[in-house]
Point group: C2
């Protein structure tokens, strides 16, 4: 029996599943203080005999096993969680193998194992929501050395009609600063789900996301890119992104047909928690 | 006994070495027509009994083993080499395992095995010369799916004082279009090796290269970046790049000390040919 935690900045999802990755029990609760939230996690798992646990966490996090801060949440804007030894607190309670990675890495692992990328070797998963982040799985292994990717913060060129200054506290007008969910409301005063599909803000976002996908394609050469996150819930956005991206590839870069290359998550909102189960299985098999 | 070919757009290097990667014999000749050049390759290897061969080639090349054009040089600006079945012509002659990858992948493999990245898991190699290209080795395996990276063509933001239009035939003002060797002479009328270190052109290049390194760091998270190619022969350029890059990392991204993170090739001009020998050994061991 495996446990999985999808630790998001807004909510936590916990699940228990078997080696067929079937979720047997699941719960979600809001992300509150570390003490309260971790207590909720422990309460959920209390009645299960876990063999291993897999965690996908919001970040940035320390994933270097040789670091004295391995398992910590690092310099997050969520003050109460800054420098919290998240993994350590779970290790105090569970004497089982625990896998530890980012939320987007976990989602990439879920999609690459039983989701949209299950027949692909190189699977890139992006979330475009409250923040923007990406994780890549290459043959069941995460891309990244001692540090995980921060590809949501790459620079983008300003859309000529877009006067929005950018919202990233670190880089102002990076990809996340220009195309994350909150930028929609910051530009228009209205939240994304209530804005007409014809509003120019969607063209701006489509352009920035396409710039990023062009960049990732040249650099990473994924076989498939899975696009998740709340902003992608707008049903027309993905086709607008494809329209923007197609001329960028021009004749130079061969990519698969865009309808096969850029896809929504097959596991819908379960990519991350499923990836947590896969991660639990991976660390169990290694032990 | 292993053979290696470093197939560059300007010159070919061929070598024969042993399993200790010691080069026993080496030759270089200019890149002429495919027929002439491949004949030179065959002549060089004629007196050796090879067990395997490793090739690092200029590109773009087809590296998808399932493609009908696997082993071809693709849409290169060098007209005579366009759509040439380079690997096929060698396979007609040698009935031995042959490894086939890009010139920069081969250099990355050389540096990661016995060069500057020999103790690192994630090694990024960049060449900044006539063109700009990059290859990454993760635990002895190349990054990339059915296609190899083309990270020399990522977009960059224009330096405010730089009015150069850009020289890339495909993207005009991408990284290669703004920072490759020929752009120096195109801007100044003088070739790079003869230009004063204080000339503003070096600041432009340092800025573009730093933008690229920032981007690759966020996306790829290498443990080390090895910077080769003729443009990097300018002894002050690497320190200028570090000066530009340091404020870009700001407080958000933790990277190793820049003097350890950004380094010249330890194998100097032998990164690629050594990587060819490593590749030959890899395919030999797999067979």
């Amino acid at each position: 029996m495996y446990g999985a935690i999808e630790a998001g900045g807004t909510k936590f999802v916990c699940a228990v599943g078997n080696s067929q990755l079937e979720i047997k029990e699941q719960a979600a609760f809001p992300t509150e203080s570390p003490v309260k939230t971790i207590q909720n996690v422990l309460d959920f798992f209390q009645s299960f005999q876990l063999d291993a646990l897999g965690i996908g966490s919001f970040g940035p996090i320390d994933i270097d096993p040789l670091s004295s801060h391995y398992g910590y949440i690092k310099n997050t804007p969520k003050q109460a969680w800054k420098n919290v030894d998240f993994l350590g607190k779970l290790k105090q309670v569970y004497d089982i193998p625990i896998g530890w990675t980012t939320d987007v890495n976990a989602a990439a692992l879920g999609e690459s194992t039983v989701g949209a990328g299950q027949n692909k070797t190189n699977v890139l998963y992006l979330t475009i929501g409250t923040g923007i982040g990406g994780g890549m799985v290459i043959d069941s292994t995460f891309l990244g050395g001692k540090m995980h990717p921060e590809m949501g913060h790459i620079p983008v060129k300003r859309h000529p009609q877009d006067s929005f200054a950018g919202s990233c506290p670190y880089h102002k007008n990076c990809l996340e600063g220009m195309a994350s969910g909150p930028t929609i409301e910051a530009r228009t005063g209205v939240e994304g789900s209530k804005i007409d599909d014809a509003h120019e803000v969607w063209s701006f976002l489509a352009n920035y996301i396409a710039q990023a996908l062009f960049n990732y394609t040249l650099t990473l050469r994924p076989d498939i890119i899975v696009l998740g996150g709340g902003v992608m819930d707008n049903k027309l956005l993905l086709s607008k992104v494809k329209e923007e991206l197609s001329p960028m590839f021009n004749q130079y870069v061969d990519v698969p047909a865009l309808d096969e290359y850029l896809v929504p998550p097959l596991l819908e909102n379960k990519s991350g928690i499923t990836g947590g189960l896969v991660l639990a299985e991976q660390v169990y098999d290694k032990n």
